[in-house]
């Protein structure tokens, strides 16, 4: 039975994580409780960070948003600042499980868990978020695109805690899309998910440069994966979808399970990419989109 620590400061928490052999952070607690229930929790110590001050909350910063690790997913889903500045993140966080889970599951726990099936990493990848980690050696920042190292393994070092996720402002002219496909019941884990962000660039004299189409894929590889392609500003949705598919193809490497074989999940991955990209592409070139996004 793991020892349950409730440190009052961040330093204390990091210290516990370093000094104990198999310590885990207890954030929202949902994932850890499920592991315990299933008899596969091998931690000797649990470090509950809910008493450490200033770890929850969503702050508007110069560049976008700073989200504390103990912020519930539901707060990201519904937060007015998030809806205004990074609506794709609000949308995608809102897809995790169900509202009850989202009330408790924490942003930090969600990303540190390293579960390849989770939705939020897909949005964070395309938005170019950064994960702030605090540990015994100080604070460091890891781009989310470097955060997922291997199957259920992240860049978090022993003793470190996620202390923020920084999400850059989603460009207002960008088009965003998200698609989540399940293969069994409707509210099951995803079989494939994809977030897409189409960001225009500008050139001198107000001319429009190429569009960077970013993809974040979930559930279709041992980790969430990122890809980026460039397309001409006047490319069609079909062009965009095709380019996205080509970019995604080498990265799709699904783990077969009861939810589908590798072949099936691969197919679904491409369908998810296609849907997300088309939505994003349409939104980007949709004149009304600009006004809608402001109002969100």
């Amino acid at each position: 039975m793991p020892v349950f620590h409730r440190p009052a400061t961040l330093a204390e928490a990091c210290d516990l994580l370093v000094r104990r052999d198999h310590a885990m952070v207890y954030g929202g607690g949902t994932a850890v409780q499920i592991l315990a229930k299933q008899g596969v929790l091998f931690a000797t110590d649990l470090v509950d960070i809910s008493r450490v001050p200033d770890l929850s909350g969503i702050e508007e910063t110069k560049d976008g948003l700073r989200v504390g690790p103990m912020t519930p997913l539901r707060a990201v889903e519904r937060g007015p600042a998030v809806r205004r500045l990074a609506p794709l993140a609000a949308q995608v966080y809102g897809h995790v499980a169900n509202p009850r889970v989202r009330n408790t599951a924490s942003v930090g726990g969600n990303i540190a868990h390293g579960d390849y099936r989770l939705d939020p990493p897909t949005a964070l990848l395309v938005l170019g978020a950064t994960v702030e980690l605090t540990g015994p050696d100080g604070v460091r920042r890891v781009p989310v695109r470097e955060f997922f190292v291997d199957f259920q393994e992240t860049a978090v070092r022993p003793g470190e805690i996620v202390t923020a996720i920084e999400i850059p402002r989603q460009p207002e002219s960008a088009g965003a899309g998200f698609s989540k496909l399940s293969s069994l019941s409707a509210n099951d884990w995803p079989c494939a998910s994809a977030a897409a962000l189409a960001v225009g660039t500008s050139r001198a004299f107000g001319r429009r440069g190429p569009v960077k189409l970013r993809l974040g894929l979930g559930a279709v590889a041992p980790t969430p994966v990122f890809a980026e392609v460039e397309l001409a500003d006047d490319a069609s949705a079909d062009d965009a979808a095709e380019a996205a598919r080509a970019a995604a193809e080498p990265l799709v490497d699904p783990i077969p399970d009861v939810r589908g074989s590798a072949e099936y999940k691969t197919r679904l991955a491409f369908v998810a990419v296609d849907e997300a990209v088309r939505t994003a592409w349409k939104e980007r070139s949709d004149d009304g989109g600009f006004l809608r996004r402001r109002g969100r």
């Binding site: 499920i34 299933q38 496909l181 293969s183 069994l184 019941s185 409707a186 509210n187 099951d188 884990w189 009861v258 589908g260 074989s261 099936y264 197919r267 679904l268 369908v271």
Partner: protein, 789 residues
């Protein structure tokens, strides 16, 4: 069946008894009931699918903090002997394994401790040495034999004379077989499609078309949200049990046999059930709880976790190899089915399912030449038992796929083809019994009309393709069975009904109250059904198989009629008129002659000279059958009544992902008479939603006998998001001549044809015939790519 019907209750949409208490969560279920302090029990379970138990090391566990006892199967066998083996058909299942384990998860030892945590911790410290035996996982491999035999010899229960011939049989995994034969199906079918031969036993091959198929339904699980729970405690020389069970009378008898006690020293109390669907019947946690409580003389409580609940009972997986043939005029001339039910490690009610479903395995059609072989087979997995539909959905999956395919072979509309061939009132079915109050045709017409069968279907273009499908279901009610009812009329005109029927959401508390109220002209809420308690409520075979509305309903009706007769007798004396002159009305007892009226309360007060008194009547209602012939499987009266139902589906398939979207689902059931139409509609809809899950994604996944998806994070259940865009329940009433007010039950009716209706719609949309469930998006997509399933 002419009934003096007051019209106050039958047919009315009375509010469900305890409705508000259910919404507010104030209604107590079994685990909410306060009982004396009980010790907790945790079970150490087998990790092997098939093995001899060489040794059990439990001393470390027994020495742990808070542990009071560790009990093994050998310990119980030493005290109870062969009585430890229980079951509703075969006495083959011990509550703790004796000598052998037969499935992964089988209880091997029980720990009794002060707390659940202490019990579980100790259960984990028990070590068992196994000598592995060859396991059998596949039903056909189990039949073929040559590998492992799950049971060294067959152990039918001594109670059943019709199973005696199986006793002692060795070297087989087939524990029961039912055969049906009428006419000469092989000859009628002919050597091949359209071949006419005249030399097979004199019969002429009539078939112009024949279709064949190998069908598979995987094991699934009921997953009622309420978990199983049993508490048992010795009470002097008696034992008392509080349990989540649909079958208190059965449990009382089973425990009386187990412990060698007379029936009046075994008390089984129930509570409203939080869903059951067949999962909480016969012998589940009760034998273990009672054996521990009685042999160790301490009160115990077993609360199963969800993971454990998956191991207690499952729904039979079944394989069906079938064929169906039609002549040039579109009449079905032959049908054959070879059905194999995978009953898992213990027979449970598998043998009965095998026969009851086997006899209608060819479907609700006029078929002159039919054969069925239906077998119940042991394998090394958790045992399969009763589940909503009682084995019939599995054979319906086959016959409704075959009949649909046969229609298409002929180039005929599947609904029209069925209509021509459906059994009608008075027709004799293949098993030899005539149809009554089984209006398949009206059900078929109702559902096809509801989804707009004849309207042109937008077949879809590009990514989504649309289709429509229909299926018809038939089931026989369990016969023979027995119901009893005791009715107490209280002096104030309220009534208390004592029955052993258990309300698990189907609304029996409300339905039975309405039947009694109808006869006694009582208003809504004036009749209350007490919770079943074998010390108080009289014998009822089981609350299952949709039998209660008809059987218990009749017992209630009879008891109420006797009460009415008592009242009219008393009123006659009171009013000074002949009894024949007195009529019971909503206003009281009225003399036709003098128009004088006396209310029930006044009448009883005058009669007894006291308040709060009771009048009691009781009645029994039992049914009988003519057992089917062992050679032909036929009987002129194989069942008391039939269930008839149909389902029709309009759906769209996403050809990019294989995902099915049900646009409109219509289900109809012939209930004879709807005592409460709202309850009937809710059962039709509820069964349809469950059936939709089975059709599209529900299945228990096994790996070498181990359940892989036995948690609710993995096992798929329909959520609100899986609901069809529209769902239409339709009540069909073809009154049954001896049902209470013409009524019969409906709990299973809509689940029976559900999966094939969906599959038939996919056939329509995609041109592909699926033969294996569930119809997952992957299966559909793979079939689309290959062009065939």
């Amino acid at each position: 069946m002419t009934v003096d019907s007051s019209g106050v209750a039958v047919g009315e949409r009375w509010a469900r008894a305890d409705g508000r208490a259910k919404v507010r969560g104030e209604l107590r279920y079994a685990a909410d009931e306060p009982v004396r302090p009980c010790r907790a029990v945790a079970v150490h379970r087998s990790t092997r699918p098939h093995a001899r138990i060489a040794a059990i090391e439990a001393s470390r566990a027994a020495a742990m903090d808070g542990v009071l006892a560790v009990v093994t199967g050998a310990d119980l066998y030493a005290e109870l002997g062969d009585r430890i083996f229980t079951g509703p058909a075969f006495a083959d299942q011990p509550c703790l394994a004796v000598d052998k384990v037969r499935y992964v998860g089988e209880p091997v030892a029980a720990v009794i401790a002060h707390t659940a945590e202490a019990a579980r911790a100790a259960a984990e410290e028990i070590e068992v040495d196994y000598d592995d035996l060859p396991p059998v996982h596949d039903v056909d491999a189990a039949i073929a034999g040559g590998g492992g035999y799950v049971h060294d010899e067959l152990r039918p229960s001594a109670v059943f004379g019709d199973l005696k011939h199986l006793r002692g049989i060795r070297d087989t995994n087939v524990n029961y077989a039912y055969v049906l034969r009428t006419g000469d199906p092989e000859a009628a079918r002919g050597a091949g499609e359209g071949v006419r031969t005249g030399d097979a036993g004199g019969a002429t091959a009539e078939a112009a078309h024949t279709v064949r198929g190998d069908f598979w339904c995987p094991p699934t699980h009921h997953v009622p949200i309420e978990l199983p729970y049993t508490a048992a405690w010795p009470e002097g020389d008696r034992i008392e049990v509080l349990s989540t069970t649909q079958t208190p009378s059965y449990v009382r008898q089973s425990l009386a046999d187990l412990l060698g006690l007379p029936l009046n020293r075994v008390r089984v109390r129930c509570a409203p059930l939080g869903g059951s669907f067949g999962a909480k019947m016969y012998d589940r946690l009760e034998p273990l709880a009672a054996a521990l409580a009685w042999t160790r003389r301490m009160p115990v409580r077993i609360a199963a976790t969800r993971e454990e609940a998956f191991l207690l009972t499952t729904r039979h997986g079944a394989a069906v190899t079938g064929s169906m043939s039609a002549d040039a005029d579109g009449a079905i001339v032959a049908a054959e089915a070879d059905v194999r039910y995978d009953t898992g490690a213990y027979a449970d009610v598998g043998p009965r399912i095998t026969a009851k479903s086997g006899m209608i395995a060819n479907g609700p059609y006029k078929i002159a030449n039919a054969s069925v072989r239906s077998r119940c087979v042991y394998t090394n997995k958790p045992s399969a038992g009763p589940f909503r539909g009682f084995g019939v959905p599995q054979v319906t999956w086959a016959h409704e796929s075959l009949v649909d395919e046969l229609a298409r072979e002929r180039g005929e509309d599947p609904a029209a083809f069925r209509r021509r061939n459906l059994l009608r009132e008075g027709d004799v079915a293949a098993m030899g019994t005539a149809m009554h109050s089984a209006d398949f045709a009206t059900c078929l017409d109702a559902v096809t009309e509801a989804i707009g069968w004849d309207a042109p279907l937008d077949p879809g273009d590009g990514r989504w393709r649309r289709g429509k499908g229909v299926a018809v279901g038939i089931k026989a009610v369990l016969t023979p069975t027995i119901s009893n009812a005791t009715l107490q009329l209280n002096q104030d005109g309220s009534a208390t009904l004592l029955i052993s029927t258990v309300d698990m959401g189907q609304g029996s508390d409300t339905t039975m109250a309405q039947i009694a109220a109808e006869v006694l002209c009582l208003g809504e809420g004036r009749v209350r059904v007490v919770t079943a308690d074998t010390d108080v409520t009289p014998y009822d075979t089981i609350t299952a198989g949709s039998r209660s509305t008809y059987h218990t309903g009749n017992a209630v009706r009879l008891a109420a009629e006797r009460m009415r007769d008592k009242l009219t007798g008393l009123a006659a004396g009171h009013l000074g008129v002949p009894a024949t002159d007195v009529k019971l009305t909503p206003d009281g007892l009225v003399s036709a002659q003098t128009q004088e009226t006396v209310g029930i309360a006044d009448l009883l007060h005058a009669h007894f000279g006291a308040r709060g008194t009771t009048l009691t009547t009781e009645a029994e209602f039992s049914t009988s059958w003519a057992p089917y012939d062992k050679e032909t499987g036929r009987s002129p009266q194989v069942t008391e009544h039939w269930f008839a139902g149909a389902a029709a589906v309009r759906l769209a398939v996403d050809t990019a992902t294989g995902r099915v979207r049900v646009e409109h689902l219509a289900v109809a059931g012939d209930v004879g008479r709807a005592i409460n139409p709202a309850l009937v509609e809710q059962q039709l809809t509820g069964a349809a939603v469950m059936g939709l899950g089975h059709a599209l994604f529900d299945q228990l996944v096994f790996d070498e006998g181990q359940i892989v998806n036995g948690t609710l994070l993995d096992y798929q259940l329909p959520s609100v998001k899986d609901m069809p865009d529209a769902i239409t329940p339709i009540v069909v009433e073809s009154p049954h001549r001896t049902g209470p007010f013409g009524a019969k039950g409906v709990g299973e009716t809509a689940i029976i044809p559900l999966a094939p209706a969906v599959s038939n719609a996919l056939r329509d949309a995609l041109g592909i015939r699926f033969t294996r469930l569930p119809l997952t998006p992957e299966r559909i997509l793979t079939a689309l790519q290959k062009g065939t399933a």
